[in-house]
Amino acid sequence: MESTFLQWLAEPGLTHYLMVSAILFSLGLLAVISRKNVIMVLMGVELILNSANLNFIAFSRFTELALDGQMIALFVIIIAAAEAAVALAIVLNIYNRFKTINLNEISLMKG
């Protein structure tokens, strides 16, 4: 049993990569939920996107998905860039209006 587990450890396969991506995803989620700073939240989102991309690449390597996975990952990177640009622009605007980028201080509307 132990040897099989060791052997499993020694042969990084699809599961390994998926688990790395799972950890990245959770860390991203944690950052998103817990950090006050908008930019930190954005960085958390980038982690989430990267974890998804890692999945795509891993699947493209280990399943019949082949290059389609890589293709999707490329598009995701592009979209992430676009989204980050817009997000940062909005952050700048927020900063101009509120003089803060702490998310929990920006709540005029509730209820």
């Binding site: 989430i48 996107l49 399943t63 999707i72 989204e83 997000a87 622009a89 605007n93 920006i106 005029l108």
Partner: protein, 496 residues
């Protein structure tokens, strides 16, 4: 290869037209730079052309760009709705005083709307998971910016940051779900996903997680409980034209996307017994999940709306509730249900836009969105208030308005499939909804305005737009055969 692309382009004119419009708007904006609404009319013309091109696609049932997207009656139906909504939004924008300080930026404004329309067109047509995500992001990114378009207004700025944060996280989660779905099925298009699942579900747990994560993303767009939290804040903050657009167009587009995705991917084609029935894969009871969410949406949306004073926020919660009613049709898993959804969104389009439009007219004159400030308006602007009353009772679902027909079909579908508990919840929440809709009416008509009593005068143009919305709401309440026929005809999806 090349023929495929060339053929596809032949079936891609509406989208191309939108992109062209987008470019024309930018260029025109650069050239004109005048603070009037010329740009609006140019955009309106572009949209009209697009609309005509959409209508030309009637009857097509084909796949384009290597199964990336489909052009089928189902997509055309939703494109028609989206175009109608967009046309109205442009007309609203022309009349909106709120946008006046930003007149010099109308080019960007329309360009972003064009981007959204493109995204939504792709949402209703795409059959590829990548394109779905792309279209989704396209729509989102444009709407993030649009929500903050009146950026000097603090609420608008706040709305846009909340929107993008929420949206980015939701779409991130959805992307993760898509990655898992693609991984376990080794297919990128929804037909492939279905084929793979039909061959056997190897990884049920991962599939569940994937479906749930995708629901998180789409649920965000539809603003269905429990993924709705952004909606009230964003709706309240965004300029009213954009709020209306978000509440109507992007919600409807997401509904279309969800129907296509779920119907094509997660249904067991092999075990079809009755035409029009959707058997789901055994053990994959996503309709129960949706029923649960629909019930939550109806309850939470309607109850929370009770306490709202800002008309936009109230309508936001109301639109959350309406998302619940729409999902009810989804739960039924028959073509009945989908027809009901299509009828619902068609009716919803007019009545919701109408309500937002009147709210905008009042906001133009009174500079307020508070329902309390509507007191006595019934005597100062009788026509608008009567129209508002009609829109609101249509939203409640009272005959003889379109809203009643919408509810009738949704309830009917649910009853015929035996979802009695869900219908009961829907019924009770409908009664509750009456409370807050009628509160607006009450304020308008039952009170004397404090001090001011001179009539509010609206120009003829704005009245024409009002009637363009009012007449369908009343007409479809009495004679709705064409809508039903249209919806039934549009049930056809490519590949099904």
């Amino acid at each position: 290869m090349v023929e495929n692309i060339l053929n596809s382009i032949g079936h891609f004119y509406p989208e191309i037209s939108i992109v062209v419009t987008l470019c024309v708007v930018i260029i025109a904006d650069l050239l004109l730079k005048r603070e009037n609404h010329t740009i609006s009319w140019i955009f309106l013309a572009g949209l009209t052309v697009t609309g005509l091109l959409v209508l030309q696609q009637t009857g097509l049932n084909t796949s384009i760009f290597h199964d990336m997207a489909a052009v089928d009656p189902f997509a055309v139906f939703f494109k028609v709705i989206l175009i109608i909504a967009s046309l109205f939004i442009v007309l609203f924008s022309i009349n909106s005083r709120e946008l006046d300080p930003y007149k010099s930026r109308l080019g960007e404004y329309y360009m972003l709307i064009a981007g959204m329309i493109l995204g939504m067109f792709l949402m209703v047509g795409s059959t590829n998971l990548l394109l779905i995500y792309l279209a989704f992001e396209m729509t989102s990114i444009c709407s993030y910016v649009l929500a903050g378009f009146t950026k000097r207004a603090l609420k608008s700025a706040e709305g846009s940051i909340k929107y993008i944060m929420y949206g980015a996280v939701s779409s991130g989660i959805m992307l993760y779900g898509i990655s898992l779905l693609i991984g376990i099925t080794a297919a990128t298009d929804i037909y492939g996903v279905n084929a793979s699942l039909a061959a056997g579900i190897d990884q049920p747990m991962i599939l569940y997680i994937a479906i749930l994560m995708i629901i998180v993303g789409i649920g965000f767009k539809i603003a269905v409980v429990p993924f709705h939290f952004w909606a009230p804040d964003v709706y309240e903050g965004a300029p009213i034209t954009i709020t209306a657009f978000l509440a109507v167009a992007s919600k409807i587009a997401a509904v279309a996307l969800m129907i296509r995705l779920f119907k094509v991917s997660f249904m067991d084609t092999a075990s079809v017994q009755i035409i029009g029935d959707w058997p789901i894969f055994e053990g994959l009871n996503w309709n129960m999940l949706l029923a649960f969410m629909a019930a939550l949406a109806m309850i939470a949306g309607n109850l929370t709306a009770l306490k709202q004073d800002n008309i936009k926020r109230m309508l936001a919660y109301s639109s959350i509730a309406h998302a619940g009613y729409i999902l009810m049709g989804f739960v039924v898993l028959t073509d009945e249900g989908i027809t009901a959804i299509m009828i619902y969104v068609f009716m919803y389009l007019f009545m919701n836009l109408g309500a937002f439009y009147v709210a905008m007219l009042f906001s133009n004159k009174l500079n307020t969105e508070s329902i309390e400030k509507y007191k006595g308006l019934g005597f100062r602007a009788p026509m608008e208030c009567i129209a508002m009353t009609v829109f609101l009772i249509a939203l409640t679902g009272l005959p003889p308005t379109a809203g009643f027909i919408a509810k009738l079909y949704i309830f009917g579908a649910a009853i015929s499939a035996g979802w009695i508990w869900l219908v009961l919840i829907a019924g009770i929440t409908t009664v509750i909804s009456l409370f807050y809709y009628i509160r607006v009416v009450k304020n308008m008509f039952f009170f004397k305005s404090d001090g001011i009593s001179e009539p509010l005068v609206f120009d003829a143009g704005s009245k024409v737009i009002l009637f363009m919305l009012l007449i369908p709401v009343l007409l479809f309440g009495i004679y709705f055969t064409p809508i039903i026929e249209f919806a039934r005809y549009s049930l056809k999806m490519f590949g099904m």
